[in-house]
Symmetry: C2
Subunit: 202 residues, 2 copies
DNA sequence: AGCAATAAAATTGTTGACAATTTACAATAA
DNA sequence: TTATTGTAAATTGTCAACAATTTTATTGCT
């Protein structure tokens, strides 16, 4: 899930590692994360571990309590996941609605590149890569809006969906859905693009 | 904006201080925040300053760049604020809808206490206190839902509204609106409560 | 056996120092 | 004059140690 950056601080890499451990069940809800043993495990000082835990707490993956420590957060309930989906639809609709007129060939190209990787993930039956590209596709739509706060909020929504990372199912027809969205975006058909976009978010 | 806790770490207090500085214009969008001078200013070591800057970055108040530092984020555009309001309405509606049946006398009491403080703020013409209570009122509604992820998302929305903290206007009729919401909650009139709640969010 | 008090161990919060990276400025070449 | 290179200063990232707080273990009493 690391992105455009080329180099990553130790702390950032630890964030990613812990996320992966949560996603693949190595870290269970309620489990305590201790700075000292983790620093030992990763063979670094407590500083970057501490930074990582702070970040993950704000992203909702961990629950921090001052002077006590952090525990792994439980995943959102199905009920709340459904609501997140509603919120995502609203947010992405807004983003697309306000930016579609400004899509450049470059933007389309970016989406095409993501589509290409998504297709490959379909072919390879690589669920993880597929979900990553799926989210990247949607992220590009949100990023197109120049107010970065929108992306900040979107991230907060998507982080919380990602607890169920391994349950996000790989649907071959979802590939085609994204193609259709891309086509609608390319032809600047706002109604269709939004309709297809919303349908896709689930 | 500090809440239920009794004691606060140095880092948490610095978070609050920086937020206040952003709210009252002492820190302007684009301005760099340097760990070393800030540590000097607050007469602490860099550690808690660093922690605070990390937290504020994830909350959207600051923009962090690895190895470079952090700058104050620009406020959200009016357009995005409007969207945040839409998202808030959706989220708070969801929260209230799913919890109204479970409201206890204690819950009502909590809301009444907040209302009481809000009334006082109205009387004293204290805009800051009023806005704080306004948000606390809404926060209680979201907190009533036992999945804390909902509150996490709500916080993310509200943090970004708070850039315009000093522009959030004090409306005497808003006091009454909250009273009406409270009354509808108390009598478990879901339709009315939700209608009034949504009307109030702006 | 259960509970309370105390002590010891573990852990978090903070500090100051060193390493790595970026920024600012000066000198040199085109 | 402008662009490039080199150096110094500033800053961030990380480290190890100490202080403060919490958790766990032990002891004593009922």
């Amino acid at each position: 899930m690391l992105g455009d950056q080329v180099f990553y601080t130790i702390s950032e890499q630890i964030v990613q590692q812990i996320k992966n451990d949560i996603f693949n069940g190595k870290l269970q809800p309620g489990e305590s994360l201790r700075e000292v043993p983790m620093a030992k495990k990763y063979n670094v000082s407590r500083g970057p571990v501490r930074d990582a835990l702070k970040v993950l707490s704000k992203e909702g993956f961990l629950i921090a309590k001052p002077n006590v420590g952090v525990t792994v957060a439980p995943p959102p309930s199905d009920e709340v996941v459904k609501e997140i989906i509603v919120l995502r639809r609203q947010l992405e609709r807004f983003a697309l609605y306000n930016t579609l007129d400004n899509y450049t060939a470059e933007d389309i190209d970016t989406l095409k590149q993501i589509m290409s990787k998504m297709r490959e993930a379909c072919v390879q039956n690589d669920n993880r890569a597929f979900v990553t590209m799926d989210l990247n596709f949607h992220k590009e739509i949100v990023k197109k809006h120049d107010d970065r706060h929108l992306l900040g909020i979107w991230n907060e929504l998507v982080f919380r969906m990602m607890f169920n990372y391994n349950r996000l199912t790989h649907l071959m027809d979802s590939c085609e859905e994204h193609e259709n969205i891309l086509r609608a975006i390319e032809s600047k058909n706002i109604e269709l693009a939004i309709e297809l976009l919303e349908k896709n978010i689930q």
